[in-house]
């Protein structure tokens, strides 16, 4: 390991790192703009200059590899002068508009200028003005502020894999643009807002809504997909103002998808904020007392087998636990948390987990995708796959509908029958799986939520077992969930019990009149119309697809409004924290279920969150171990049987509109229109781009 001297002290540092990283290891901060640990080195901002002995000029430390015996100084007058000079140059063409800039207060340029910069400007000439660009509904631009660090370009090219931004022209005329006046199409594009060290790229929906220092920051967990991205919810008063990613190396690194970042405006719209009861065919607001009384009357004398529960995709473990306990007390076996009809068992645990773990993807060398489009189902898992692919020595093949995943994918075919051939060793891919050192397969809901899902699951298990995907030291069998609630639901055993019906069975039984009451916990992704014959209770946060068909609406809390437990697709248990209160009469979901159970005389005796969470751990001890991924138990699962020839495809038709919160979000709707359906950008917005408000 090379030895270097930094500011007079000797350090031993790993070979192959840069001077910048060596200084970082030594605990010395080097100001920088263009350097980012997760992006390729650009070395174009010159902010990171340091002095290196025997080098005649200051050196850009981010692009300089360390060498044995280097003597580095970061605190000499020359370095300070260099930093001052660089900042003065950068500020020549940067507007002094911090008071009206959204980045103000969290701007690298502002902060570094404060610490290292000159205190006045000697520049008397005109600043260059750059016209703003149209990049779509999510990113607003103030290109006059751009310092050309190219982080945004590098992110889209390297991490997102959708190279749509570039630097056109050159020298003083260089501009960052996609040059098309069209929306960017990456589903990770929001991250460039965080990456931009100045106020050039900002959040469009958040524009001029708040100042960063007046926000309360609550660390929480995202539920827009089953990745369990770590997020920070910024609130002012009781309003969620924006959502940002939090660092979690094993889950989302420091990125989040655009759905996670921008769907929050759906939290304020179409909310169910008062209980409603259908009276003479119309839903009318009532108070909680009346709502519960109506339910008690309807349920009086109803035997358990005539009551069913369907749990939606955003439910937290706490409310699902209450469903479980309540159903037990009602003696209703008809409970299902798989509203899409996925043929997944509730045990063994490995049958429904992403066993390789998200970080584990980085060790794999061959991956088979089965009926999944990870780019839409879990953008960050796709980003990991891409990250792995970029390192080389990684091949991906697919069975199912084609989709651009941003890395090359070998298309084996569409039919699940291929799995039979692979399992029997009658397909060349079998050999490749066997030859691979760390092969993995990813089974999507598109392969499981179909009539032959159990048979496909069985085949996938057979392939995993026979081709060396499951070993002592490696588990390459992965189920990719799309619902944040699903793994938690399966952990709690929310599948039909003895003689119980699954979602399809419940719908059919309700049509036949055998099920008289259906309790929907945020379940909107089912054919609610078919429940016409039954009394439908809808507990949830949004007036989405199911609520209009309900006979009784119990307004619940959204994910930002409760302290709640979620389990991601890897089986990682994480806690979301309340950032705001539910609107109006809406209440936390477990409390509603607790009250309902009492009202109908089958009280679930859990009186506070502590008790609920204690009980959670009793039912499933895993749920008490936060933020770890434990290998799930392996065993027999799936059902041998014929598979049909129907082609496999992803269950997601529209990335931006997958759940009730997204569907209520105007931002997500606009994304769907502009990015997926190719609608033209609004003329008013284009017209505003001509002039920048920040000349000079």
């Amino acid at each position: 390991m090379p030895k270097v001297v930094i500011n007079g002290k000797e350090y031993e540092v790993p070979a192959g790192i840069t001077v910048f990283q060596a200084c970082e290891l030594a605990g010395i901060e080097i100001p920088h703009f263009c350097y980012h640990p997760r992006l390729n080195i650009a070395g174009n901002c010159r902010m990171c200059l340091v002095e290196i002995e025997r080098s005649p000029k200051p050196v850009a430390s981010c692009a300089m590899p360390v060498a044995d015996g280097m003597v580095i100084r970061t605190d000499t007058p020359l370095v300070h002068k260099a930093r001052k000079g660089v900042l003065e140059f950068l500020l020549i063409n940067h507007p002094l508009d911090c008071p009206i800039c959204d980045q103000g207060g969290e701007c690298d340029l502002q902060d570094l200028t404060l610490f290292y910069g000159p205190d006045h400007s000697r520049f008397r000439e005109n600043k260059r003005a750059v016209a703003d660009k149209y990049l779509g509904p999510l990113i607003s631009t103030h290109m006059t502020r751009c310092i050309h660090c190219t982080r945004c370009i590098r992110f889209l090219e390297e991490v997102a894999g959708v190279p749509e931004l570039g630097a056109v022209e050159r020298g003083e005329h260089m501009e960052i643009t996609n040059w098309l006046e069209r929306a960017l199409t990456s589903e990770l594009q929001g991250n460039v807002i965080d990456l931009c060290p100045v106020g050039a790229l900002n959040s469009k929906p958040y524009a001029y809504r708040a100042r960063s220092w007046e926000l309360t920051k609550v660390e929480s967990i995202d539920v827009m997909d089953a990745v369990g991205s770590n997020i920070r919810v910024d609130v002012r008063g009781n309003e969620v103002m924006r959502i940002l990613p939090r660092l979690h190396e094993d889950v989302n690194e420091e990125w989040i998808s655009d759905r996670s970042r921008f769907a929050y405006d759906g939290l304020k719209r179409r909310r169910l904020d008062v209980p409603m009861l259908r009276k003479a065919g119309r839903l009318e607001p009532v108070d909680w007392r009346e709502a519960l009384r109506a339910l008690r009357e309807r349920m009086a004398g109803l035997p358990g087998e005539r009551i069913a529960f369907i749990v939606g995709d955003l439910a937290c473990c706490e409310s699902m636990l209450l469903v479980r306990e309540f159903a037990l007390r009602l003696e209703s076996p008809h409970v299902d948390c798989r509203q899409d009809g996925a043929k997944l068992p509730a045990s063994p645990r490995a049958a429904y987990l992403f066993n390789t773990s998200i970080r584990g993807i980085e060790e794999a060398d061959l991956c088979l995708l089965i009926g999944t489009n990870p780019r839409w189902e879990a953008p960050l898992i796709n980003a990991r796959l891409r990250k792995r692919w970029r390192r080389g020595g990684f091949q991906v093949a697919r069975i199912g509908a084609s989709f651009d995943l941003t890395y090359p994918v070998e298309h084996l075919g569409d039919s699940p029958k291929l799995l039979e051939r692979i399992a029997k060793g009658r397909h060349p891919f079998t050999k490749r799986l066997k030859a691979a050192e760390r092969p993995m397969l990813i089974l999507g809901m598109g392969a499981l939520a179909r009539p032959d899902g159990a048979a496909i699951l069985h085949l996938a298990r057979r392939i995993a077992e026979s081709c060396g995907l499951v070993r002592e030291d490696w588990n390459g069998f992965n189920v990719l969930h799309t619902a944040a609630a699903r793994v938690g639901g399966l952990d709690l055993g929310l599948v039909p019990g003895e003689g119980g019906l699954d979602v399809a069975g419940i719908l059919a039984a309700a049509e036949r009149g055998e099920i008289e009451l259906v309790y929907l916990l945020g379940a909107d992704e089912i054919e609610v119309e078919r429940l016409k014959g039954a009394f439908v209770v809808y507990q949830g946060s949004h007036g989405d697809r199911a609520a209009p068909h309900a006979d009784l609406i119990l307004p619940g809390a959204a994910y930002t409004e409760k302290n709640a437990t979620y389990v991601n697709t890897e089986g990682r248990v994480q806690r979301a924290r309340r950032a705001a209160f539910p609107p109006g009469e809406a209440r936390e979901d477990w409390k509603i279920l607790r009250a309902v159970s009492e009202a109908v005389g089958r009280t679930v005796p859990l009186d506070d969150l502590w008790a609920v969470q204690r009980r959670l751990v009793e039912v499933q001890p895993m749920l008490g171990r936060l933020d770890v991924v434990e290998p799930g138990a392996w065993g027999a699962f799936g059902e041998a049987g014929p598979v049909s020839d129907a082609p496999l495809s992803s269950p997601i038709q529209d990335f931006y509109l997958t759940n009730p919160i997204c569907r209520a979000s105007p931002t997500m709707r606009r994304c769907s229109l502009e990015i997926l359906q190719g609608a033209p950008p609004p003329q008013e917005e284009l017209a505003l781009l001509g002039a920048t408000g920040t000349h000079g």
Binding site: A131, K133, Y134, E157, P163, E164, L165, G166, A167, V168, E169, R170, G171, E172, H173, E175, T177, N178, W179, L180, E181, L686, L689, G690
Partner: protein, 206 residues
């Protein structure tokens, strides 16, 4: 820096034509160029292909041509836009086919580039950055053309015209206007970049 004005707001690539495709001959040429580079490195052919496209399209590149080249080389479109806008030799706006590029960098300027420009303005009847009224010539200034030993220099089509002054420039341009192809190189009669006042070394050689 290039003397040309930065193009107006980069909202969109300025004018456009609906479609662009190489003629069969050009496609052959393009394939030959692409074949020079190893598999997976086709993007290296972007510069020759853009030149080819520009020549085919009468001296400038519409967006459709950029997109076509991007497609042909399996490059992200923006990468082709970056290249095309970076190099001064590519024109992204309609310009007349014959480009008259006058070097105005210091050595040429010292040796009389202003006179050359004056002659150009008079003969072509347009200002720097404009097309001539007859729509055949596009006049522009250029940075050092790398032929300073024969300053001042002007670059038209494939040819360099060197050792210019007012009269010689006029003569060259008028000849081109008449459809002739004047002899490129020094217009002073000297050979290559030999000393203007005759040889001073290697006297015994021809």
């Amino acid at each position: 820096m290039s003397p040309k004005e930065p193009r107006k707001p980069h909202g969109a690539i300025a004018p456009d034509v609906e479609r662009f495709a190489f003629t069969p001959e050009n496609l052959e040429k393009a394939k030959a160029v692409i074949a020079r580079y190893p598999e997976g490195r086709q993007a290296s052919a972007v510069l020759p292909l853009l030149h080819l496209a520009q020549d085919q399209h009468g001296g400038w590149l519409p967006q459709a041509a950029l997109d076509y080249v991007a497609e042909l080389l399996s490059m992200p479109r923006i990468k082709v836009y970056e290249v095309a806008s970076f190099y001064d030799m590519f024109h992204l706006e309609p310009t007349a086919p014959i480009k008259v590029r006058v070097c105005t960098t210091t050595p040429c300027w010292l040796c009389g580039a202003e006179e050359v420009l004056k002659a150009c303005r008079e003969v072509l009847g347009c200002e720097v950055g404009e097309n001539s009224p007859d729509g055949r010539f596009f006049l522009r200034e250029f940075e050092c053309l790398g032929a300073c030993a024969n300053a001042p220099v002007m670059w038209i089509g494939e040819d360099y015209f060197e050792d210019l002054d007012y009269e010689r420039t006029k003569a060259v341009l008028e000849a081109i206007k008449r459809g002739e192809r004047p002899k490129p190189g020094p217009q002073s009669g000297r050979r290559g970049s030999m000393p203007a006042g005759g040889k001073t070394t290697l006297l015994d050689l021809d």
